[in-house]
Symmetry: C2
Subunit: 342 residues, 2 copies
DNA sequence: CATCCTGTTGACAACGTTGTCCAGGGCCTA
DNA sequence: TAGGCCCTGGACAACGTTGTCAACAGGATG
C-alpha cells in the first residue's frame, strides 16, 4: 500500500512539486507555499497535514522557480585566478563566510589568468543572475560589464583595479609594501638587489615593481640591466631568472620576490647556493616562519571579507559613490631579509 | 534620441527580456530564442536584426528561467571542509576544471567540519537543483540524502565514506598510507612512536590510526598509553599532545602526524627541541621538501578529478552500480622520517 | 494550375513558484 | 438575529524561457 502510493505519486527522477503536495494533503497550492515559507495564516492542523505530505513525498522547494519569481538568487559569484593558489583559498573562504551570514551561496570560478576566460566566466555568472560579483581581474578592459552593472548586478573588484568601468575596489598596498620590503634590504646594507615579478600585464606586478624602483631611487641606487625580471611565475622561468641574477662577475646580493609563487622558487634556488643571498617575498607562505623567510604579508582573508562586506552593503541598498579601499601590508622579519650582503 | 530610446526601453535594474528584444527587432519571441541559442532555421537577415536589438538593449539570457524550463542547471555543488585548507584548494580546482569541460559551473560550500552545516549546505544545493553533488562529509549519517538521490541528483562522496546511503565514493588509502609511514619509521629503528590525529568522528582519522596500530602490531610492538592522541587539529591541542609525548622519562622518538595541519604544528614543536625527533606526516605540504619533511602524499587534484569524472559519467547517463574507488598514496622520504632514534 | 514539399516564423502552453485578490466560515457586537 | 470583521484557504496570473505545433510563402513537381 505504502509502496504503491509512493510509486504512483513520485516517479523517480521527477520530483514532486507543491502541486503534488497540495493534492496529497488535500489543500490548495498556495497553502503549501505558505507552510514551506513559514508564512503566517495557516492553522496548526493544516500545517501538520501539509508537513506530513512533504515528508512522505520527499518534497524540496525548487529554488530555480523561486528565483524566477522573486528576482533574487541569493548567490554571488567569485572569479579569481586559481583556487589552488594558497593566497586565494583563504580569500574565497572569507567571502563565503560573509555570504553565508547573508544567506547567500558562493559560485567560484578560476580564470587561470586568461582575460577571455575571465569574461566568459563573469558573463556566465551574470546569466545566472547572481546578485553580486567579486572579481579578481585577469584582463584590463572590463567595459563588457557595463550593461550588467547598469542592470543591477553589484560588483566589487579585488586585488587589481578594473579597466574602463566605475566599480568598488579593494586592493592591497602593493606599491607601499614592495617599497618597504626593498628599503628593508637596503637598510641591511644591500645595493645590488634583484626583482623577480609576475607578468607586466598584471597590475600588482607593475605596482610592486614601481615600489622597488622608488625604494632604489630614494636610496640613490641606479638599477642595472638584468636586475629586473617580469614574466610568468612558472618555476622554470623564475629559476632561470634567479640563477642569471645570481651568476656572473657582479651578482645581486639580495632578491625581492614579487609574489608567493616566485618566493617559493626563489627559496629553492637560494638553498642550492653556497653563498647566502638575502630574500624578501611578497605574500606570506605557510611554514615561512620555520624557514626564516622575511615577507611582506597581506591578509588574504581580510581582503576577501572587506570585499564581500562592501558587496552586501550595496546589495542591501546603500547607494554611496564607488569606493576604492587600500589595505595595508605588514613586513614580517624572519631572518632571510636581514642577512648582510655576502 | 539614443538616450531617450534606451531609457524608455531598458529601465535600470530591470533587465530586458526576449520579449523586449523581439519587440525592438520586430520579430516573434521564439525567433529571438532561436538566435540566442544558435538554433537553425533563421535567415541571416533576421538574425542580424535580432542581434542588433540584443546588442542595443544589452540583453542577456536569464538562465534561471532557462533552467526552470529545461530541468538541468549545468551546475554542480562541492561541499568540503574548509576551502582555506591547502589540501582542498587544488581538489576544488580540479573539480572545477572537469566541470568546465562539461559546461558546468561549480558552487562551493565549506562545512567547517560541522555535520549540521554540511546537511544545511547540501540541501540548499539540492534546492537549487544542482545536477550533481560532490561531498566531503563531516557527519556520518547521510540518510537525509536519500530522497534527493532518488530524485536524480548524482552524488559522489570523497575522502570519507557516506553513512547509511549507497553512493559512489572516491577515497584515499588512509589505512595503507599510515601503515606504510609507520612501518617506515620502524624500519629506521624506532619503537616508541607517537600518533597524533584528527577527531575520531572522522573516518580518515580512525583509518590512519588503524594503519598505525597494524604497523605496530606487525612489528611486535605494544602501543603504550599516551602514544596516541586524537582530537581537534587546533595548534594548541596538537602542541600540547606533542609536548606531552616528547616529555617524561620515556618519551617517544618519532611522531606520525595524521594530517597536514597536525604536521605543521608538529614540525614547529620539534624545531624547538634539542633532541632530534623523527617525523612522518600524512599529506604533502608546500615547501616540505626544503624542510626535509617525510610525508605520505595523496594527490588532491587526482582525487578531485576522479570524483568529478565519476559524477559526470553518471550525469551522462551511465547506470553502473555504485563504485568505490581507492586511490593509492605515496611515501616521499625527505629526511625527517629517516632520522634514527635519539 | 493544383499539389506537395521545404524552410522560416510565430502563437501558445508549460516549467514550479509566489503575489494578489477574493470567497467563505466563524465569531463578536449591537 | 443581523451585520460586520477577522482569519483561513484557494484560484489565478505572472516571472522569462523553451518545446510543440501550425501557418505561411515560395519553389518544385505532377
Amino acid at each position: 500500500m505504502d509502496r504503491t502510493a509512493r510509486h504512483s505519486e513520485t516517479r523517480y527522477g521527477n520530483r514532486p512539486t507543491m502541486k503534488d503536495v497540495a493534492a496529497r494533503a488535500g489543500v490548495g497550492l498556495k497553502t503549501v507555499s505558505r507552510v514551506v515559507n513559514s508564512e503566517p495564516g495557516v492553522t496548526p492542523d493544516t500545517e501538520r497535514r501539509v508537513q506530513e505530505a512533504i515528508d512522505a513525498l520527499g518534497f524540496r522547494r525548487n529554488d530555480s522557480a523561486r528565483v524566477l519569481r522573486k528576482g533574487r538568487t541569493a548567490s554571488i559569484g567569485l572569479v579569481l585566478e586559481d583556487l589552488a593558489d594558497p593566497f586565494y583559498g583563504p580569500l574565497s573562504r572569507a567571502v563565503e563566510e560573509v555570504a553565508r551570514a547573508h544567506g547567500a551561496l558562493l559560485i567560484n570560478g578560476s580564470s587561470a589568468e586568461d582575460p577571455e576566460r575571465e569574461q566568459e566566466l563573469v558573463l556566465a555568472l551574470c546569466a545566472r543572475r547572481v546578485d553580486g560579483l567579486i572579481v579578481i581581474p585577469a584582463g584590463d578592459d572590463h567595459r563588457y560589464l557595463e550593461p550588467e552593472i547598469k542592470a543591477g548586478i553589484a560588483t566589487v573588484f579585488v586585488d587589481r583595479p578594473a579597466g574602463h568601468v566605475d566599480v568598488d575596489m579593494v586592493l592591497s598596498d602593493s606599491f607601499g609594501g614592495a617599497r618597504e620590503g626593498v628599503a628593508h634590504l637596503i637598510a641591511h646594507g644591500h645595493r645590488r638587489i634583484g626583482f623577480i615579478g609576475d607578468q607586466p600585464r598584471i597590475h600588482t606586478a607593475t605596482e610592486r615593481l614601481r615600489g622597488y624602483h622608488t625604494a632604489m631611487r630614494d636610496a640613490g641606487i641606479t638599477v642595472e640591466d638584468g636586475w629586473v625580471s617580469l614574466g610568468s611565475t612558472e618555476p622554470e622561468r623564475v629559476r632561470a631568472a634567479a640563477e642569471e641574477m645570481l651568476s656572473g662577475p657582479e651578482p645581486v646580493t639580495a632578491l625581492f620576490a614579487g609574489n608567493n609563487r616566485v618566493t617559493v622558487t626563489a627559496v629553492r634556488v637560494i638553498a642550492e647556493r653556497e653563498r647566502p643571498v638575502a630574500l624578501v617575498g611578497f605574500d606570506d607562505i605557510e611554514l615561512a616562519d620555520l624557514l626564516g623567510i622575511t615577507v611582506i604579508s597581506q591578509d588574504a582573508a581580510a581582503v576577501g571579507r572587506t570585499a564581500a562586506e562592501h558587496l552586501f552593503r550595496r546589495l542591501d541598498g546603500a547607494d554611496h559613490p564607488t569606493a576604492r579601499v587600500e589595505l595595508p601590508t605588514t613586513l614580517i622579519p624572519r631572518g632571510s631579509g636581514e642577512l648582510p650582503p655576502a
